[in-house]
Each structure stands twice: as C-alpha cells, then as structure tokens.
C-alpha cells in the first residue's frame, strides 16, 4: 500500500542524523519534525531567520513577531539564534544546512527539480525554494509517485520550469525511496506491499532496479 503522509514523514526522519541542521519545507516535510528518532537532536532552520525552531506556542505564548517560514506562529528553543534574511540565506546558499526536505511537482533522472510553477496556472513565486536547492548538498524530495491522473512525476526530463538544475539526489514518494545517480533513479526501498512492478510502471524516467529491493517497515 502507498505510504500515508505520516509514513512518508517517518521514513524521511530516518535520514536525520544527530547534530543535523535541517530545513523542512511546507507540507509533508513539515511533518518530519514529529518523527525525529529518539536520541537524535536536530536543529530546525526556518529561512525567515530562525535557527532552532521550537514547538508551536501555547495560546499565551503566541507572538506575532515570532513566526516560521510558513508564516505560522512558533517558538524558539533554548539556544536558538535569530537573524536577518540575508544571514539566513548566507547559511543556506553557503551550504551550511545539513539537510533540506522539500516537496516537488516533478523530479527527473538528472536531479532536476520543478516545484514552483505550472504554466497557465497562477504563479505565486518560488519563495526560498530556489536558494534551498542551490545551496544544500543534501536534499530529499518528497512527493507522490504519480499524479491523481496516474502520470509519473519521476521523469526522464522535467516538463515544468525548473526550481534547480542537477541538485536532487534523493527522492521519497508514497511508493518508493530512490537515489539519483549517473542519470538514473536507483530504487532503494519500496513501500510495504508495493511491488517493484508497480514502481517500474509508474516511473517514467530511467529506473535501476537492484536484485533486492527491501520493503520499508513501520512500527505502527
């Protein structure tokens, strides 16, 4: 069965390492914060200028001057740092963030990502996504494997305008966890009960299937 959003977040969370500075995009990436493994401490970077994002505030703690990049009210954990947008993107652009997790419309076998613009639809902007994909060496893309109409989002070549070129090396979909290497998706894990055949069928780009593709396991 395809992974739920929560399971996707859980799977991504396994990529976290103790001491990682992490930027989580909006949507499924945000949920990753709920599944940080025990014994591991990560520091969340919010690109509006907060390193060490804490929990959502209580009603009493709500402060309009304390928000995250999703414009939600948040808190800062002890030991947080707050700074300007220029400093925030100096961190991001300079490659100081250890892991970035963000959603996408399409990813292709060259590591290109399209996530911000669908021609003909209203374009609202890329926010910090282009900076994030250009700055991080370590990015995980999360998305459904195929569109509602069954069209693959893992392509030979992105059809939508790019967010970044050649910058993605890991993709987690609701069906599979893949790495991108030498112009191909390498199938690393499959969702519980999802067959390799289904993944092959729903992957339009070049997919390398190793002999053994382990099934992901989830506690709950």
């Amino acid at each position: 069965m395809a992974l739920t959003r929560e399971q996707m977040a859980q799977r991504v969370a396994r990529e976290l390492q103790d001491g990682f500075y992490v930027n989580l995009g909006i949507g499924i990436p945000t949920l990753v914060a709920n599944y940080i493994p025990d014994g591991i401490d990560v520091m969340l970077q919010s690109e509006n200028g907060l390193l060490g994002m804490g929990r959502f505030p209580t009603e009493e703690e709500v402060d309009p001057d304390m928000i995250n990049a999703g414009k939600q009210t948040v808190t800062a954990r002890p030991g947080a740092a707050i700074f300007s947008s220029a400093e925030s993107f100096a961190m991001i652009r300079g490659g100081h963030v250890d892991l970035t997790v963000l959603g996408a419309f399409e990813v292709d076998q060259e590591g290109n990502i399209a996530s911000w613009m669908v021609p003909g639809k209203l374009i609202k902007g890329m926010g910090g996504a282009m900076d994030l994909v250009a700055g991080a060496e370590n990015i995980i893309c999360t998305m459904t494997h195929a569109s509602k109409h069954g069209e693959s989002k893992l392509l030979e070549k992105c059809t939508l305008p790019l967010t970044g070129a050649g910058c993605i090396n890991r993709v987690l979909t609701d069906l599979a966890y893949m790495e991108i290497e030498n112009g191909a998706f390498i199938l690393k894990e499959r969702a519980p009960g999802v067959s390799v055949e289904e993944i092959v069928e729903k992957t339009a780009g070049k997919l390398v299937v190793p002999e053994h593709v382990p099934e992901m396991t989830f506690d709950e």
Binding site: N48, S84, M130, A134, A165
Partner: protein, 232 residues
C-alpha cells in the same frame, strides 16, 4: 533637525518627499515586521506608479495590500505574492508587473545595494526561468548567474527599539528583511515601538547602525497574525 536627532513626530513628515514613480524597499516577511503605518501613509498620499521591493505584498486590506486598492504599485520585486485576491486580479490583468526573485537573492540584492556592491554571482536560479537572460559563469566547475544590487528612493522599515541617532534593534523574527532594506534606501525611514535614549542600546547589539537611517518615528502597531498556530 539638529545633529543626529532623526526623530520625526508625524507620519506625514516621515514620508515627506515620496513621489509617484519612485522605488520603495520594504522590510517584513508576510505580515511579520512590516512598516504598517508607513505603508498606510503612502496609501494616504496617493502616490502612484511605485516600484516596490518586498518579499511579499501583504494581504487584502493590510500591509502592502493597501497600496493595491488604488493601484499605487505598478511593479513589484518579490519572492512570493498572491496571498490576496486583489493582487491576483491585478496580476492577471497585467496591471502590476511582478518580478519574481528568489528569497535569498532578493535579500542579498538589497544587502549588495546598500553595501556598494553592484553585482554578485549566485547559484540560485541557474538553469531555471530566473536565470534566463542573465550572465552565466563558472567558478570551480559550478554554474552561477549574475544578480545586481538594488537600491531604493525610499526604504521603509519596522524596528522594535531605536535611539534618536537611528540605531535600531529588531524583535525576534520581525527582523527578516528590515536590516537590508534599511541599508539600501536613499532615504531610510524606520518606525519603531519605542525610542530610547542614546546609550541605552548596547553598541555591539545594534542591528542597524544609525548611519543608514534618516528618519525615526515612534508608532503603535496592529501586528496582524497571518497563521495563528498553537499547540494543544
């Protein structure tokens, strides 16, 4: 105005000199840390054909959204817009020109403008529509595009505390784009919640040194919250 006393006592005085056709840099991220009263004064003045540089464009009826009501903005540099219906309508009607700029590039372009750096290279946007028409250059085997510094006729900034010399500190994440905007205005106007005596702000803890600031005004603020999110 004697010496370094940059205080003004009305918003009219604060925005004196703003004219139609000018470029205005605005601090703020979403509705957080926006110079809400300075924006309202620009609305009151009715100046038109403004070019605005700001990460976002407010919401219907608040923040920079106010300036849409009378079509005062003809062009905007922003990373994310369209949180309000009026904006979308004007964008679809080509009544407003939108130059989408990646958030980090926007911040750095303002910083560069203020710091006398006419242009810099960044990997952000290379290979995307943002890079089209821009110079591409390789450094150490990686591709970068050339982006230019931005300066404005006016910068409008929201601080927390300031002294009369124009030294400013920001509160929490209301800092965001404000310090960069402050450096890059030919005339920089800062509205704050409190004006303190010179010496009350620790010198090494000042976010915006007074040299960048032309006018300081104390105001009161609504501080609207865009997405109130609380835990159980």
């Amino acid at each position: 105005m004697a010496g370094f006393d940059k205080r003004v006592y009305s918003y009219e005085e604060a925005m004196q000199g703003i004219e139609s056709g000018m470029t205005v840099l605005a601090g703020g991220f979403g509705l957080c840390g926006i110079p809400e009263n300075l924006i309202a004064e620009i609305k009151r003045r009715g100046v038109k054909d403004l070019t605005v540089v700001s990460n976002n464009c407010g919401v219907d009826g608040f923040g920079l959204g106010l300036l849409l009501e009378d079509r005062q903005i003809s062009k905007i540099y922003a990373s994310y817009v369209g949180e309000n219906a009026l904006f979308e309508q004007q964008m679809l009607n080509n009544e407003i020109e939108v130059v989408l700029t990646p958030q980090g590039t926007l911040a750095e372009r303002m910083r560069a403008g203020g710091a006398g750096i006419p242009a810099f290279y960044t990997a952000t946007g290379y290979g995307t529509p943002i890079g089209e028409g821009k110079e591409v250059r390789e450094f150490n085997g990686r591709h970068y595009i050339l982006e230019e510094g931005i300066i404005g006729d006016f910068a409008i900034v929201k601080g927390w505390k300031a002294d009369r010399y124009g030294n400013v500190v920001y509160r929490h994440t209301a800092q965001n784009f404000n310090p960069m905007a402050a450096t890059a205005g030919k005339i920089t106007v800062v509205e704050v919640e409190e004006i303190v005596e010179p010496g009350e702000l620790e010198p090494s803890q000042i976010h915006t040194p007074g040299i960048y600031v032309d006018r300081i005004i104390q105001g009161s603020f609504e501080k609207r919250i865009e997405k109130r999110t609380v835990r159980d």
